[in-house]
């Protein structure tokens, strides 16, 4: 349940950006290979946000598909997990997308 610690980080980042204003919406980018469980994040965000400017804010999560580049042949392709291999047979892959864990934007009340 590291999503609890991650939620604390999100609420801190959002709180700094809000400068005392109420937060209506928080948009996150979560890569599908990031190791973060969406449902656990939604649950813990609601708890951690209580009593902060982000209390009651809507959490919008944009999931990002995994992509890798083969270190052997340079091919780029979608990956669903860390077990993927390149069509050329190599398993030496650089993951170029899917590990994101970002606060993309916030919507603040005037």
């Amino acid at each position: 349940m590291h999503e609890l610690g991650i939620s604390r980080n999100i609420v801190a980042i959002v709180g700094e950006a809000a400068k005392g204003r109420r937060v209506r919406r928080v948009t996150l980018e979560i890569g599908k290979l990031s190791g973060v469980v969406r449902e656990a994040l939604e649950f813990s965000f609601g708890l951690v946000a209580q009593g902060t400017p982000a209390a009651g804010a809507l959490l919008e999560i944009r999931e990002i598909e995994g992509r890798a580049r083969c270190a052997q042949c340079g091919a780029e392709f979608g990956v669903r997990d860390f077990l993927a291999a390149c069509a050329c047979g190599s398993r030496h892959l650089a993951h170029i997308a899917g590990e994101e864990l970002n606060v993309k934007s916030v919507d603040l009340e005037d």
Binding site: H2, N9, I13
Partner: protein, 269 residues
């Protein structure tokens, strides 16, 4: 569900002011007074703060000429037993320990009894160590120059993988009592490892654990990972582990001296 107000958009519902209606999109039609809000692009990495603090820990270790290992693994895989035995085998004072557990100082007491300096960190509800906890623990531990610090993380194959501590190397202990498919089930942990220690090999006759398959699974998620077979209980295979520790410790320090010849002289002071 409506992404803006959170209400269920196909059901009739009652608002706090008593109005009752079905949800009608667009939202201007639904909200009773228009909401003004400002959209702020942040593009902030959620773990940026922890990573920055981990960078400070790495710099602190560098200044003090200390090499740090992040020792991870499931509860009961033998992390503390491995450290006890390692402390007794290495030169006195060459290994200090930061012990992470949710509660109790039991492991710190075991480490102290084995003869090493130790600081216990209790994470409470936390399921992993983070860079702030390690920064405080390092300051308290004050490891001596040219020593190794083993940071024993909270027993967990999930959460610690995401939090950098400023360590030089990551070691994952996998005991044969756990199952050889664990690297596939917990890929983040094994992907982050420099070394996998397959522990409790003295139990192999009693369990259905295929060491080759376990190491193969670890390499399926992390092709370059090193692996050693050990028993912290019987001592089998530990010479190779001690050699790895000495090599890693020395190699790091040697690299630093190579890059900055003044470094060794400064840390002596």
């Amino acid at each position: 569900m409506c992404a803006i107000c959170g209400c269920d958009d196909h059901l009739e519902h009652v608002h706090a002011d008593g109005t009752r209606h079905r949800h009608a999109h667009p939202h201007e039609a639904h909200h009773h007074e228009p909401h003004h809000h400002e959209h702020v692009e942040l593009e902030a990495r959620v773990l940026a703060k922890n990573d920055a603090l981990a960078g400070e820990n790495a710099a602190w270790l560098e200044r003090h000429g200390v090499v740090a290992l992040n020792l991870m693994g499931a509860p009961g895989c033998g992390k503390t037993s491995l450290l006890e035995r390692t402390i007794r085998a290495l030169e006195p004072g060459s290994l200090a320990v930061i012990e992470g557990d949710q509660a109790t100082a039991n492991d710190a007491e075991r480490i102290r009894a084995a003869g090493a300096a130790v600081v216990q960190v209790n994470t409470g509800t936390g399921c992993h160590l983070d860079a702030v906890m390690v920064a405080r623990a390092l300051a308290e531990l004050a490891p001596r120059p040219r020593s190794l610090v083993a940071i024993e993380n909270v027993g967990n194959l999930v959460c610690p993988a995401l939090f950098r501590l400023g360590e030089h190397r990551r070691v994952v202990v996998l005991s044969v009592a756990e199952g050889d498919d664990k690297p596939l089930k917990y890929p983040h942990m094994f992907r982050a490892a420099d070394l996998v220690l397959v522990n409790k090999i003295d139990l192999l006759a009693h369990v259905d654990f295929d060491v080759e398959r376990a190491i193969g699974n670890a390499r399926a998620v992390n092709p370059g990972v090193q692996a050693l077979r050990v028993s912290a209980r019987s001592g089998e295979g530990l010479e190779a582990w001690y050699r790895w520790l000495r090599l890693e410790g020395l190699r790091d320090r040697a690299e630093r001296r190579f890059e900055d010849p003044g470094h060794a002289a400064r840390i002596e002071r």
